[in-house]
Structures are given as C-alpha cells and as structure tokens.
Symmetry: C2
Subunit: 284 residues, 2 copies
C-alpha cells in the first residue's frame, strides 16, 4: 500500500512557482496578487485563510485578506467582489467558504469575474471545465487530485472512477476532469442505494463525503486507488481525519492518500497554480 504523498508533491509545485515569482521580480515585472475575502469569525475559515497567506508569502506572491463582519449583507459582499473584479492589480481572488447562512452564496459566486476566479467556483468555469475549454479555471481540490495522480503516473483512461459526494466544489468538477481523461465515472450522493457495493466497483475511489470513518473495507476493491478528500474531526480523539477508516481498509488499496498530508496540501498548491494561470492569461 503506497502512500500518495500530497505534501511532498505540493511542496515541489510551490517551489517551482516560487522560482517563477523570483524570476519575475528579477526581471522587474509585477508580482502576482491573490486576494481573499473572509466573512465572519468561523474558526476553521480563519485558519485556512491564514495558511493561504503564509504560503503566498513563502512563495513570494502578494496575499491580501479582506475581513468582513458576520453581519454584512449579500450586497456588501457582491460590492467588494465587484471592486476586486475591476482592480487591475488583483490577478485572482477567492471567497472563503462557508459564508454565513444569511448570505446568498450562489449570487456572490456568480458575481466573480471568471478570469479572476482562482477557486474555479463560478458557473462559467465549471461549464467550461465540462466543455474541455482550455481557458477553464478548475476548482482547486479536483485539480489537486488529478495532479497528484499524474505525479504517481496513475492512468485514468478506461478506468472506473467512483466519486462519493456530488458537490459543485469537488464531486462535479472532478467528474468533468476525469471524463476529460476518458475515465468511466460514477457519482454517488446521500441517496445512493448500497453505496459500498457501488464504491467497490472503482479502480479509483474518491471520497468527498465529510464523515469520519465512513469508508470501510467493504467499500474498497483490492489493488485500487483510494483518494480521501475528507477533513473531519475524529469522533473520539478529536484529531484531523479523512472519510476513510484507515484501520479497516489497511492493505486493500494499492495506493492511498493520507489525511493530513494528502489532498489538503494539493488543494492549496492548486490554488497557487490557478493564480499563476490567472496572472499569465488575465493581462487584458
């Protein structure tokens, strides 16, 4: 059972970007800038934004955070989005999710200029991804997963992929990217009947369910690839764990992503890849 070391692959990607940024600086060129909108005081959201800022600083990218109080309205957020859309010094920006429940998330996301949508969450970028449009900015987590599989030379053509979870942020864009690589893709959701049997058909099983200890040995085909997108608190220890019950699946898949150190760091590195994409293509 080989570990897919997302932490290491992500580090390589970030090092490559850091070299590019340094070269830009030496050539006297403008440095890429990523902005982050953080609404409210959610503990995990604050932590993620801080992490993104730290990574941005490490690789030499400018990272600005716009904090808004919990009480802001949808219109307030859309107005800030609009300002960032128009600000030519901002290459890309993202809104840390979840937003407070009184804010219309769909409306806020739709108002992002697709060219600056580093998180790939606008309808236009999702649609372009499904249409194999090369200008699509993919959602960061699916891009991270595909990049990680590529790094280990795991082929997708003709493979059966099962995705547990049909969210617009992970399950759906990942399906688009898997289809582009000619995989046969099954998307499951909370209503799927006998989900373990469906999962066990997979050559590559991706769990993005958000439930600790959800994926057990009866979900996993011998010799398959198991990708764990979950980021949950263990019900007893309180530690960060994925969706996969590691004790239960031990020795069954050929490859597995750990939590932490698997998909998480790849997502962060992919965000910076998307920023570079925005920087390079966004000069209008």
């Amino acid at each position: 059972m080989e570990i897919l070391n997302g932490k290491e692959i992500a580090r390589n990607i970030l090092n490559d970007i850091a070299l590019k940024i340094r070269a830009l600086g030496e050539q006297g060129k403008r440095i890429p800038r990523i902005d982050m909108i953080l609404v409210g005081n959610d503990y995990a959201s604050q932590k993620y934004v801080r992490l993104k800022q730290v990574v941005a600083k490490e690789i030499g990218v400018m990272g600005w955070v716009h904090r808004m109080p919990e009480s802001v309205s949808t219109l307030d957020v859309v107005n800030l989005v609009d300002t960032l859309n128009k600000d030519e010094t901002v290459d890309g920006f993202m809104i840390q999710l979840p937003l407070p429940s009184h804010i219309d998330r769909a409306l806020v996301l739709k108002s992002i200029d697709p060219k600056k949508d580093v998180d790939g969450l606008t309808p236009t970028n999702l649609g372009k991804l499904f249409q194999k449009d090369s200008t699509a900015i993919p959602s960061a987590t699916p891009l991270g997963i595909i990049t990680l599989l590529d790094a280990y030379n795991i082929k997708l053509l003709g493979k059966r992929v099962v995705v547990l979870g049909s969210s617009a942020i992970v399950g759906k864009p990942l399906t688009a990217m898997m289809l582009e690589r000619s995989a046969t893709v099954t998307i499951c959701n909370s209503k799927t009947v006998e989900i373990a049997d469906v999962a066990r058909e997979a050559d590559i099983l991706v769990s993005a369910v958000g439930k600790p200890l959800f994926v057990k040995e009866n979900f996993v085909k011998k010799g398959s690839v198991l990708v764990d997108v979950g980021s949950n608190k263990h019900p007893e220890s309180g530690k960060l764990v994925g969706d996969v019950d590691m004790d239960s699946v031990q020795g069954i898949p050929a490859y597995i992503t750990p939590v932490p150190g698997g998909v998480g760091p790849m997502t962060l590195a992919s965000l910076m890849l998307n920023l570079m994409h925005c920087y390079e293509n966004g000069r209008r």
Copy 2:
C-alpha cells in the same frame, strides 16, 4: 414493455405553449421570437431547421432563419451572434450543429448571451445546471428526457442511471439533471471497458452514442427503463433508427422510448419550453 410516447407528450407541451401564445396575442403583447443560424448546406441540418420553423409557426411563435454560406468565417458567425445578442426583439436563438469544421464551434457557442441560449449550450448554462441554479437554461435533449420520464411518473431518486456518451450536449447536462434528482449516475464513453456490463447495472439506461444496433440484450437489465437518444440510418434499410437493437432487447426493459417518436419530438418541444423561459425571464 411500455412505450414512452414522446410524440404525444411533446404534442401536449406544444399545445400548452400555443395556448399561452394565443393569450399573449389577445392581450396585445409581443409574441416570442426564436432565431436559428444555419451555416452551409448539410442535408440533415436543413431538415431540422425546417422542422423547427414549422413547429414555431404551428404554435404561433415567430421563427427566423439566418442562412450563411459554408464559406463564412468564425468571425462572421460570431458577428451575427453578437447582433442577435443585442437585438431586443429576439428572445432566444440557436446555432444548428454541426458547424463546418473550419469554424471554431466553442468560440461561437461561448459568444452567445446565456440569457438567449435556447439550446443551453453555453458554458455558463452548463455550469449553472451543475450548480442547480434556477436560472440555468438546460440543453434541450436532456430536458426532453427528464420531462418524458416525469410524464410517466418514473422516479429518479436513488436510482442507478447509466449514460452512454459523454457529450457536452447530451451526456453531461443530462448527468447534471439526474444528479439534481438524486440519482446515482455513471457516464460512459468510447474508452469504457466492458460497457455492456456497466450498462446492465442501470435502472435507467440512456444511450446517446450515435451507432445503430449498438445496445443489445446484454446491455439491458430486466425491468429497467431504456431511453434511446440515437438518430441513425439503419445500415441495411436506410430507415431512421436509434442506438437500440429493438429486436434484441424485446421484452427486457419495462419502459422504452421508440425511434422515431421518443426523444426527438421531446427535444423539439423542450426547445420551445426554453424559448418561453427566455421570453419570460429575459425582459431586462
């Protein structure tokens, strides 16, 4: 084996729209208008456009056709699209596919105003469909399929759906609509291994492959629903047939769509449903 009578259901939908149009006329209101762009002399394309014109006339909608010679450039087509985007008397318009191979189809489709995209082929509408955005205009064929299943009260929640063919026009938007109804969806393509075995897992099997006699008895689970999107010439008789080998599957599914008279008329009716959607929501 019950026939899903698309012709009849489509007729009912068109009759309903015709009543609405007549009411608009009696109220002295503007009548909806659909424009069609037809490039070149492809025989089937000319036939389809003529059919749409006839149906438009029958239900009292204005239908304009813009013919362009085979030799036009991508820019010529985009310029016409731009004119129709801006023309306030045009509620919706579509480009008859396929376009001649020298024309950049993706670029042309991307240039359509999503609000006037009656065929639902812009990236924005496909993305919105995957994001369950109520302003999405769905691609006409998938909308027709869902509407037909609804008319026969065939439930999708928790069902296993297998879609043969992952095109941006049928397979992908249909997947979005099936996911929205909490089905478990598998999308196959030309690289799928042992496709008959995958197909046989389906409670609802949709074939959008474009190959006559492709789906045979070993593809079909007893008691399932079989939807045939194909529109092909029979290799011997030259008659219009779908993807399904009707002799081979006889008696296996519980429900089946015929060709002709199944998905085809539903697609046309759905185009007019989309036009009404554009008409009602497009008044800016």
